[in-house]
Amino acid sequence: MQRLFGRPEALADVPTHYCPGCTHGIIHRLIAEVIDELGVRERTVGISPVGCAVLAYDYFNCDFVEASHGRAPAVATGIKRASPGAVVFTYQGDGDLASIGAGEIVHAASRGERITVIFVNNAIYGMTGGQMAPTTLPGQKTTTCPRGRDTDVAGHPIRVCELLSSLSGVAYIARVSVTSPANVVKAKRALKRAFETQLADSGFSLVEFLSTCPTNWAMTPVEALKWVDDKMAMYYPLGEYTHVPEVG
């Protein structure tokens, strides 16, 4: 009897601290599968963010660096420039990447850093207990917008893929979700393209995952997946985004 499905080598065989049903776990596994399939585990360096995925370094079987909040793209830049042969990816939440790290991600993308960014958008600050994120949907209640996000006060959610796709250094950008086995397969395909983009040295690559936070959304994991499909995917259209062609 042969094994059709199991734990990829690049994923450490340890329990995670993630809440039940949190899709951080699925995303971890997909990254590990892609690393295995590309056979780059031994030259991969991951960068974990400050966020629920802060301990990601314990969950992957490759070298890992913990970055300060939002600065993973700068840390990745330092690593990649110092060792161009390495396969470098960051794993960042929406608070980490789109809020405090907005400057670093814009510039890493603009410079066309040969790194792959895994952007986990769960529309909230998970680790700190459910505060508003730049990606929190209009009307969505969080601990720092208890009456629901008021766009007059806090503005509209930032669409990271759309924002970055205007930058010339960007070679590949896609937005995916993991709300069904079919979407998981699509997501993995995009992830693989992103890593291949880096291996081809053709520029900056980013995959945005619409992810869940059952704990802070106060939903069951199954409800949470449905909310991603019904609410988030409306505001954050899935698909591939490519950069604006060079002018002049």
């Binding site: 601290h17 809440c19 039940p20 680790m127 704990t215």
Partner: protein, 183 residues
Amino acid sequence: MHEEAIFAGFGGQGVLLMGQLVTYAGMMEGENVTWMPSYGPEMRGGTANCGVVVSDEKIASPLVTEPTSVVAMNRPSLEKFQGMVRPGGLIVYNSSLINAGPARTDIRVLPVPANDIANELGDVRVANMVALGAYIGVTNVVNPETVLEAMKRVLPERRHGLIPLNRQALARGLELASGAKTG
């Protein structure tokens, strides 16, 4: 009088409220009190706990490292805290969810079928009040009436409707305790 208690369980079991009620009641009775919750990633996986100090003396640290009592509402909590209890101390545990009680023999142990009793009363959410009643019954750290007073202040208006039910649950716990004493 110097009591240092830990209340622990799943997030949904209202253990933080148990601690707050004791603290608030202690304050109303003129004692010095502190309440300290667990926070941050500690709370991942939905477990929560808080430490309460009620004392007639100024309170040094609100961190409860050697509790005189532990109230454990689920198994992980019992496992985590039973070792810390001071010799001669007390463990109240929710026997509805925990089949094997603590191993220790140097402390008092009171099993409370909190969920079962709460279900009898028609709402599993008052299991915490049952356990709280048992705890107060044994320790007499505060007067049950004061706890009910405290409830009025701690609970938001809209939830005051639940107070009668909570009173019943508390009473059932108190009975258990007195039974345990006499028996």
